[in-house]
């Protein structure tokens, strides 16, 4: 049977067909759908872990215990999980272990565009890179066999373009691998990485890498497509597709395994062509390895090392480098349309995070942010976030700034899921080392940005089972925070009162702003659009400062001040009434006027 699957769906399908029993992940674009899809297959266990390190440890535990397992994450998740990833390379596992990383060239939804192939070289583990959905499925199955053959974790590198592109996939059946372990292994020389055991493991993983490099010479995912002699291209991932499209007459060495590299295959290919280039996204990862073989090669001198590639960029760069004639340039329409209004990412209408950011803007305090929907509090007109680096950073950055002697009140802002992810140890530090940091946990009862995933605070698991709800107030009190208050996230006045009260203290304090995401199905049922009384509105513009997409500038001008009155788009308004509460003239009505 053939079905059109996205790259992420294909990875999940491959894992299922490979007989994977256990999977763990933390949501992160573009990887989120992999485990969501996998969790729907029969006979598997899949979970959301609180962070990627936990997810990789969980997968390692399952693979030690004799069941095939994977963990999936976005590229920066592997930074969090790196400690676990590195020891897994040292120990190996009893059964197949695959770590899926979804890199984000072009930073569609990430803070950087790191090339995680480097992690494969760093950890001495093989790296597989599919070029479409069919390959993603086949390679996922092969990854488990490879892992077991060489007793190594496998890094499975996806990119946004492969994750979120769809193409035909031939479906197969699930094959249950024979149970390899009946009892959890008692093998400290292999699994207890104290220095005395780790030292003899290191030469083994270096030898393992050489053996895998030998395997790479004949691996079916590394293949030569011989065409013209004039130009030879080495390409991997989606760049292979661009190479096929832009250079139909060039010979190609298509690398599906991009670490370790097949030295002889590369040398033979180089000898068969007159000019050798590498087309790869981001780092010159393959290119530098080829150069170390003393093989003349070009790559990043022609193609950019920044951002996502696309066929047009590849074509234009190739023309500039003389690889293609000027006549190869694609026709484009040179009509100047002038500027168009943008649609920048912004907090949704009715978002429960908006009121707190409005208050923080008013208080003019430094706000140390974190990763999630609420990251958008930085954007105009709210302008209420001043740093954002990675998951869990804000609380510790605030602590550091306070300890540096900055006399202002530092407010760290973090979402519910991100607090569980890496906020907890940072708050422990604030309590232990005592800084007057105010932490706002924006608890919207779900992991929002990645599309409504369950987390330890929601009461449900990935596979829909009821779970204990970990409540924030008792949790942070147990850590030793004395000043804790939970308020309705839409109550701007109460948020302001509480923050001012906390700012008078010289101690750690936690404000929990709580209201479910306005887009949750049960919340949508309660939407009730508001309206503006145009007789009363004088166009003061205060409500525009909320940055609510549902509040528009009317064509009607106030007669006295000649400024546009406000207008509410009833198709967008949820009735959260934050604008009604801040309107100085009481112009926002909570009932629709009779037609």
């Amino acid at each position: 049977m053939i079905r059109i699957l996205s790259g992420n769906e294909a990875v999940a399908r491959g894992a299922w067909e490979a007989g994977v029993a256990v999977a763990s992940a933390y949501p992160g674009t573009p990887s989120t759908e992999i485990i969501e899809e996998f969790a729907r297959y029969p006979g598997v266990y899949a979970e959301w872990a609180p962070n990627e390190k936990v997810a990789v440890d969980v997968a390692i535990g399952a693979a030690y215990a004799g069941r095939r397992a994977f963990a999936s994450m976005k590229h920066v998740g592997l930074n969090v999980a790196a400690d676990a990833f590195m020891y897994a390379s040292m120990t190996g596992t009893e059964t197949g272990l695959v770590i899926v990383t979804a890199d984000d060239p072009g930073m569609h939804s990430s803070q950087n565009e790191q090339d995680n192939r480097t992690f494969a070289r760093f950890a001495r583990v093989p790296c597989l890179e599919p070029s479409d959905s069919q390959e993603a499925k086949e390679m996922m199955i092969a990854a488990f066999a490879l892992s077991e053959q060489f007793d190594t974790p496998v890094l499975f590198r996806m990119t946004t373009r492969i994750c979120h592109s769809s193409s035909a996939v031939v479906l197969g059946e699930r094959v249950e691998p024979p149970a390899r372990v009946t009892r959890f292994p008692r093998n400290p020389a292999k699994y207890v990485m104290v220095p005395g055991n780790a030292r003899p493991r290191h030469p083994l993983i270096e030898q393992r890498q050489e053996a895998i490099a030998g395997f790479a010479e004949t691996c079916r995912f590394n293949r030569v497509e011989a065409r013209g002699r004039e130009l030879g291209i080495i390409a991997s991932g989606v760049a292979y597709q661009y190479a096929r499209e832009v250079f139909p007459r060039a010979s190609l060495l298509k690398l599906g395994m991009t670490w370790p590299l097949p030295a002889q295959l590369i040398r033979d290919f180089a000898a068969s062509v007159e000019r050798l280039i590498v087309i790869e996204e981001l780092d010159p990862f393959i290119e530098e390895a080829v150069r170390l073989l003393d093989v003349p090669v070009e790559g990043k001198s022609i193609f950019p090392r920044v951002g996502e590639l696309d066929p047009r960029t590849v074509r234009e760069c190739a023309i500039a480098a003389g690889l293609l004639p000027e006549t190869a340039r694609a026709p484009t329409l040179d009509v100047d349309v002038g500027p168009l209004p943008g649609r920048p990412p912004m907090l949704c209408p009715g978002c429960p995070h908006r009121a707190a950011f409005y208050v923080l803007g008013k208080l003019k305090v430094p706000v140390l942010g974190d990763i999630g929907c609420y990251s958008l509090g930085f954007a105009p007109p709210l302008n209420a976030m001043h740093t954002l680096g990675c998951m869990g950073a804000g609380i510790a950055v605030a602590h550091g700034a306070a300890k540096a002697g900055n006399p202002e009140h530092h407010v760290a802002v973090i979402g519910d899921s991100t607090f569980f992810h890496t906020g907890l140890p940072a708050l422990v530090n604030v309590v232990y080392n005592q800084s007057p940091v105010i932490t706002i946990i924006m608890d919207n009862r779900v992991t929002g940005m990645t599309g409504h995933q369950e987390n330890p605070g929601t009461g449900r698991t990935l596979q829909g089972k009821a779970a204990p709800i970990i409540e924030f107030e008792p949790l942070v009190r147990a850590l030793g925070v004395e000043h804790v208050k939970t308020v309705d996230a839409y109550d701007a006045a109460e948020i302001e009162r509480t923050l001012k009260e906390f700012m008078r203290l010289d101690q750690p304090a936690v404000l929990i702003t709580r209201a479910p995401c306005a887009l949750l199905p049960e919340v949508r049922l309660r939407w009730r659009p508001l309206t503006i009384n145009a007789e009363v509105c004088n166009g003061c513009g205060l409500c525009f400062r909320l940055g609510c997409p549902a509040i528009l500038k009317s064509d009607v001008l106030d007669t006295r001040y000649r400024r546009p009155k406000a207008l509410i788009d009833a198709t967008l308004c949820t009735g959260c009434a934050v604008c009604a509460a801040i309107c100085p003239r009481g112009a926002v009505l909570d009932v629709m006027p009779a037609a």
Binding site: I2, I4, T29, H108, S109, D132, R161, H164, S165, S166, S167, A168, V238, Q241, Y242, R244, E245, D310, P311, R312, R315, A330, P331, T332, L333, V335, V337, P339, L340, P341, G342, R343, P344, P345, M346, C348, P349, C373, L376, P380, P381, G448, M449, G451, L519, F544, R545, G547, P549, I551, L552, K553, A566, D569, L572
Partner: protein, 194 residues
């Protein structure tokens, strides 16, 4: 078979991904190799969304090259302007007359007027078909079928029989709204071209 490139665009939540899924099924049913790619940024709601669908004997890149789209299917007219440079000179633009406003505080650049949008589209497309998809869908009793009305309007320009489209739609929508979606497609397909 002749390669066909489609670019679908609009604002998050308008049913663009569903529509590009349906186009893929249509292509597969007549024997094309099919690839599509969706580009949605960070916004859950209200962001610009673009989906590329490519049909050919063998498709390599899932992305339609700039200036390489045969069809632009726009669910919102400002988004039609934003992505019209994907069309080639003889390309067809099928555009909903729906306008979704941009943020009040940010609108230093105002939402373009209708005649400006039309003139931009006409400079870039060989043919422009404006469809009152929103009001037609409301007339059918469900604003959510605007996307299938647009698919119906698009189908007039594509040499693939209506039954194939209808089968793909039926495969991809829930059973209880199949009949509604069939009527939406027929309505879009029956619109006068021009």
């Amino acid at each position: 078979m002749k390669p066909l490139n489609f670019v679908l665009t609009g604002v998050g939540g308008q049913g663009i991904v569903l529509s590009s899924d349906i186009l893929c099924l249509v292509g597969m049913a007549v024997g094309y190799d099919v690839k599509k790619t969706d580009v949605h940024g960070m916004a859950q709601r209200g962001g610009s969304v673009i989906s590329h669908v490519r049909l050919a004997d063998q498709v390599f890149s899932p992305m339609v090259p700039l200036g390489g789209a045969d069809y632009l299917l726009a669910f919102e007219k400002l988004e039609a302007c934003r992505w019209a440079h994907y069309l080639h000179r003889d390309g067809v633009a099928v555009v909903s007359d729906e306008a979704i406003p941009t943020l009040a505080m940010e609108s230093r650049t105002p939402y373009p007027a209708d005649d400006e949008i039309m003139s931009q589209l006409q400079q870039r497309a060989g043919q422009v078909q404006i469809v009152s998809a929103g009001s037609l869908a409301a007339g059918l009793g469900n604003p959510r079928v605007a996307n299938v009305i647009l698919l119906g309007a698009l189908s007039r320009f594509v040499a693939i029989p209506a039954e194939i489209w209808l089968r793909a739609i039926a495969e991809r929508v829930p059973p209880k709204v199949r009949e509604l979606n069939r009527r939406a497609f027929e309505l879009g397909r029956s619109l006068e071209v021009g």
